[in-house]
Each structure stands twice: as C-alpha cells, then as structure tokens.
C-alpha cells in the first residue's frame, strides 16, 4: 500500500464528505431552530437525486445547473411541509414528531419506488471522466466540482444567517422562542422558512450526490442515518460542526474501506457516533452545554 494511495483515498473522502456535510447541514439547521429531528431527511435527499436524474434525462439539464431550480422547488416544498404538517406538532412530544416524520419518510421512499422502480439510476457526464493529476495525487473532477458547489451552498447559508435581517430573526427564534414572540416575530413563519432553507441544502447536496453514486429508493433511510451520525459527531445545531463532521465521516469511511473491508465502513461511523454520544454529547465541534 503506497502513501499516495492512502492520500488519494483520503482526498476523495474529504470531497465526498463536503457533500455529506451540506446534506447534514440541512438537518442541523432544522434541528437547531425548529427543535424537530427530521427523520425524513435522507428520503428528501433521494428525491433530490431523482429530481436531478429526471432533469438530466428529459431535458439534458446538467446537474450543476439543475441545482438552482431544484433548490427553489425544495425550498417551497420544505416551507409547505413545515407550515402544513410539522408546525402543529412542535408542541407535541418527541415520539409524536418522530411518528409523523416516519410516516412522511415511508410515503417518500415508496412513492419513489412506485415511480422509478428498484433499479439504480445515474447521471454520466463525459467531461467529468478525466481526472486531474497533481503530482502523485489523482483528483476526480466530478468529486472536486461537487465539493466546490457544496462549499458555495454552505457559504451562502452561513452568510444568510450571519448578515441578513431574516437570518438574525431566525437565530432569535432559535435562541429564545418566547422572547422572539414577545418582540413580535412570527415564529411559525420563520420555522417554515428554516425548514425551507434546510430542504434547499438537501436539494443542492442531492444534485451533487448523483455525480458520485447511483441512486436507488432504498438509499433514503441510509442517508437519514448518515446525516444523524454527521450532525451528532459534529454537534447537533452547529453549522460548522455539520460540515466538519461530514468531512470526518467521509474520510473515515474512505479509509475504513481500505484498512478493514468496504462493507464494514459504516461500522466505523456508528462506532464514532456511540463514542461521541457518550463522551462528548455536544459533539466534537459543538459548544459545551
């Protein structure tokens, strides 16, 4: 085993991890503000992936361009989901919220199965087949561009929360529900906005993910679990934590595939999750509670 091989795998892990990170960022933002764990997160991810596949297959729309209409569509979808279904549940106990989203996830997975069948679908872009050579390193173009788009998406979200008035209002709702209500913020509308933004993250991540893996309906639950692992390891509710957690999980999965066996790679992630939950429940990058 050469050092260059390990480096190549680690690099591929970092790039894939950034896309994972953007997906997890959506989950983290939703939990951080709305305090609802989106158990249908991975299922939404697969819907976005199928969206990109369909746009490419019917109109030849490049996934890099499909990002924009998909993000808008998912924003509206997420807004409607929160405003219509989840808002009435925010005062209900956790298990009730869980059941609601499990039902939504069940409908999503099997809806996709009805429409697309169980076979894997993919998007092949010829211009991405050639790798970039950088000394001993080989960089896969698809992974590189996907990671760049993921970083841009995450950066835009950071900037929105940091600088815009709406972003500040959303952070106020997250910090103090009652206080935000007292100063006259329409908290439920901001919750819906947040869910919309989280969904838009998923849309972008999904469009990029089809460049890296084939999509099948059953990927949904696996991505939900992956997103949980990432946000818990990174710190539930922390935005930088989600991205860093994504990279960490991406690299550890890539290297576990090399050193142990590819089929055991998620065992490393779940082992990491258990350790983090027990010894640092606020996450590796989260604030101490």
């Amino acid at each position: 085993m050469r050092i260059a091989d390990i480096l190549n795998l680690a690099l591929a892990g970092v790039l894939t991890g950034l896309v994972y990170g953007l997906m997890a960022l959506g989950l983290s933002v939703i939990f951080g503000v709305v305090r609802v764990v989106n158990f249908a997160h991975g299922e939404m991810m697969t819907i976005a992936m199928y969206g990109a596949v369909v746009l490419f297959a019917t109109w030849g729309l490049d996934p890099f361009l499909a990002v924009v209409p998909m993000a808008i569509a998912f924003f509206i979808f997420g807004y409607a989901l929160q405003a219509g279904l989840i808002n009435p549940f925010i005062t209900r106990p956790e298990h009730a919220q869980f059941m609601l989203l499990v039902a939504v996830a069940l409908i999503m997975v099997n809806g996709l199965l009805m429409i697309f069948g169980p076979n894997a679908r993919t998007v092949q872009l010829d211009r991405l087949l050639e790798s970039i050579e950088l000394g001993p390193l080989l960089i896969d173009r698809g992974k590189l561009y996907a990671a760049v788009v993921a970083c841009v998406g995450a950066g835009a979200l950071f900037a929105f929360f940091k600088f815009s008035r709406t972003g500040k209002a959303i952070r106020a709702c997250a910090d103090n529900y009652l206080g935000a209500k007292v100063v006259g913020l329409d908290v439920k509308r901001y919750y819906a906005l947040t869910f919309g933004l989280g969904s838009a993250c998923v849309a972008v991540a999904g469009c990029m993910m089809v460049l890296l893996v084939d999509v099948t309906p059953v990927l949904g639950p696996a991505y939900t679990l992956l997103a949980f692992v990432i946000v818990i390891v990174g710190g539930l509710g922390s935005m930088t934590g989600a991205l860093a957690g994504g990279v960490l999980i991406g690299v550890s999965e890539a290297l576990a595939g090399l050193f142990i066996t590819p089929s055991a790679k998620s065992m490393v992630s779940f082992g990491l999750l258990i350790l983090v939950l027990l010894f640092r429940p606020e996450g590796l990058f989260g604030k101490r509670r």
């Binding site: 009730a96 869980f98 059941m99 069940l106 997975v109 309906p217 639950p221 818990i232 539930l236």
Partner: protein, 313 residues
C-alpha cells in the same frame, strides 16, 4: 377480557391457516409492543433500536441450536441474559452521562446498526449469508425443540403474549410502575421526591430487553432463517413501535389493539389493491404511510384511549 382470551384459544378450530398465520404475527407484535411500551410508555425512555434485542435474542438461541443442538427453552435463558446485559450496558452508559430524549433514541439506533454490521461479518453465525435452522416435518409436534405445526406456534405465541400482558399489567400497578410514570411525567420532580431515577430507568430498560429477547427466540424458530440485514434493520425497530403508538402509548391494551389494527390494515390494503389491479411495488406502503399520518395527526393519544373514553371504561 377472558372472553377475548377464550376466543383466541378457540381460533385454530375455526380459522384457516392464513388467518392463523396473521393471528400469530399479531400476537408477536403484541409481545414486542408490550416490551417496548414498558420502556417508552411506562418510563418515558424512547428506544428506536429494539431490533437489537430481537436480533441478539434470535441469533443466540438459533446459534446454540444450530451448533450444539441445545433446545430453545435453554437457549432462551442465555438470550435473555445477553439482552439484559446489552440493555444494561446501553442504559448504564447513557443514563450515567445524562443522555435523554432524542440523543438517547439516536444512541439506541447506533447500537442496533453497529451490531447489524458486526453480524454481517460474524462468520460463526453465517455472516451476511444468514443462519438457517433445519426445518423439521411440520406435522410432528416437538414442543421441546419448538419444531412443529403452525397451530403449535400459534399457541406458544398466545402464551407468550398473554404472559407479557400479565407481567405488564402487574408492573403497571406495582411500585415500579408508579415510579416510572412519575419519571415519565417529570424526571426532575421525581428525583426531588427521592426516587432513584437512574435505578428505575435501568430496570425499565432491562425488563424491556428481556421481554424482547423472548420474542426474538420465537422469531428464530418460527421463521427458521435469520439475516442481519433483515432482523437488525431500523425498519424492524419502527415496526415494533408502531403498534403501541397507534394503539395508545403507556396503556395496557394499546399495543395489542395497535398490532391487530395494523395487521388488518395492511391486509385490507393488499386486498383492495389486488381488486383494483394496482400491484406496483411500493403502493401498499404509501397507503400504509398515509393511514399512519392520519392516525398520528387526528388521534394524538392513540386509538385505545379514545375508545376507552367513549365506552367510559
């Protein structure tokens, strides 16, 4: 109550083999639902990883039978012991650090998934290829080795489910039951009243794990084949908790009613779709999901409390 039990006792004499298999499945989910309900419904600790105990219980008894010819009634005790140890480990780790709510639920998922992938590579029990118990002649009833007819399995399952109901109704009105409900409603207040919440939560987890292990042993000998991908999968855990939540969380009849309604619903959907010639894969689950959605939205406390109020029970 006794009327229902008599009806269930007489069922094999009137029902055909299909109805009997559905009834066995309902009783199985009544058992696992009761077990899960002890932890969540009574003590308020949300577990989303109960497939862990089903799987470990099933694999323990099946492997002992497969490798050493040790019968299920002996294997059962080792299965219970292992699951109690597992539950105690998870509880000890989580409750000592003060993990609760969503974090606890995710920890239980993580343990189940970790074990699933572990068993995928555990060659002694067949790894991902599965573990198969020899299927004996179905006409010959061998209760000692749990090899026999569907009617025998039905009666065994009926006894187990009835036993679980008995245990739960006793627990519900015992000292532990009241402590659990106090912890469920307000853990800090319970602690302030001098309840050792750690100890009672541990007891709930351990009892729940032991009861689920029993269900797992039955599962292994009823289906004769075990695959880590299936038995430890998160959708198995969700199946377990649907019954009690739909039926009525924290009630004694909820898990039974929920299991029965869900089985009947799944069946009705299959029949309806066959009639309409809509047999695309996935349609059934979509309808199932829609029905769940309706129940969760309109009956927040489950079906049994609503019926009980109507009947003034």
């Amino acid at each position: 109550m006794s009327g229902l039990f008599a009806l269930l006792l007489a069922l094999p004499y009137v029902a055909n083999s299909y109805v009997l298999s559905v009834a066995t499945l309902i009783l199985y989910f009544a058992l696992t639902g009761q077990a899960w309900n002890v932890m969540m419904g009574f003590a308020g600790q949300l577990s989303l990883g109960h497939s862990l105990y089903v799987g470990v219980g099933a694999y323990t008894a099946a492997a002992l039978f497969f490798h050493f010819g040790i019968g299920p009634w002996v294997g059962l005790w080792l299965a219970i012991l292992l699951c109690v140890a597992l539950g105690a480990t998870i509880g000890l780790l989580a409750f000592r650090v003060g993990i609760s709510g969503v974090y606890f639920a995710l920890l239980t998922i993580a343990f189940a998934e970790f074990t699933r992938i572990g068993f995928d590579h555990f060659n002694w029990v067949g790894a991902s290829g599965g573990l198969f118990i020899k299927v004996a002649q179905r006409e010959h009833v061998d209760l000692l080795n749990l090899r026999g007819t569907p009617v025998m399995f039905y009666y065994v399952m009926l006894c187990l489910a009835a036993g679980a109901f008995g245990v739960c109704s006793w627990l519900f009105r015992s000292r532990a039951g009241y402590y659990w409900q106090a912890i469920r409603e307000n853990e800090e207040a319970a602690q302030a009243l001098g309840i050792n919440t750690f100890r009672w939560k541990m007891l709930a987890v351990v009892i729940s794990a032991a009861m689920t292990a029993v269900a797992g042993v039955f599962f292994a000998f009823y289906y004769n084949s075990l695959f880590p991908e299936q038995i430890f999968h998160i959708s198995r855990s969700i199946e377990i908790i649907l019954g009690p939540i739909i039926g009525g969380l924290g009630t004694l009849f909820g898990p039974i009613l929920g299991a029965a309604l869900l089985a009947v619903l799944a069946d009705a959907i299959t029949e309806g779709l066959t009639l309409l010639r809509l047999e695309i894969p996935g349609v059934k689950q979509v309808f199932y999901g829609l029905c769940l959605l309706v129940v969760v939205i309109f009956l927040p406390h489950g079906i049994w409390p609503t019926i009980a109020r109507k009947l003034r029970l």
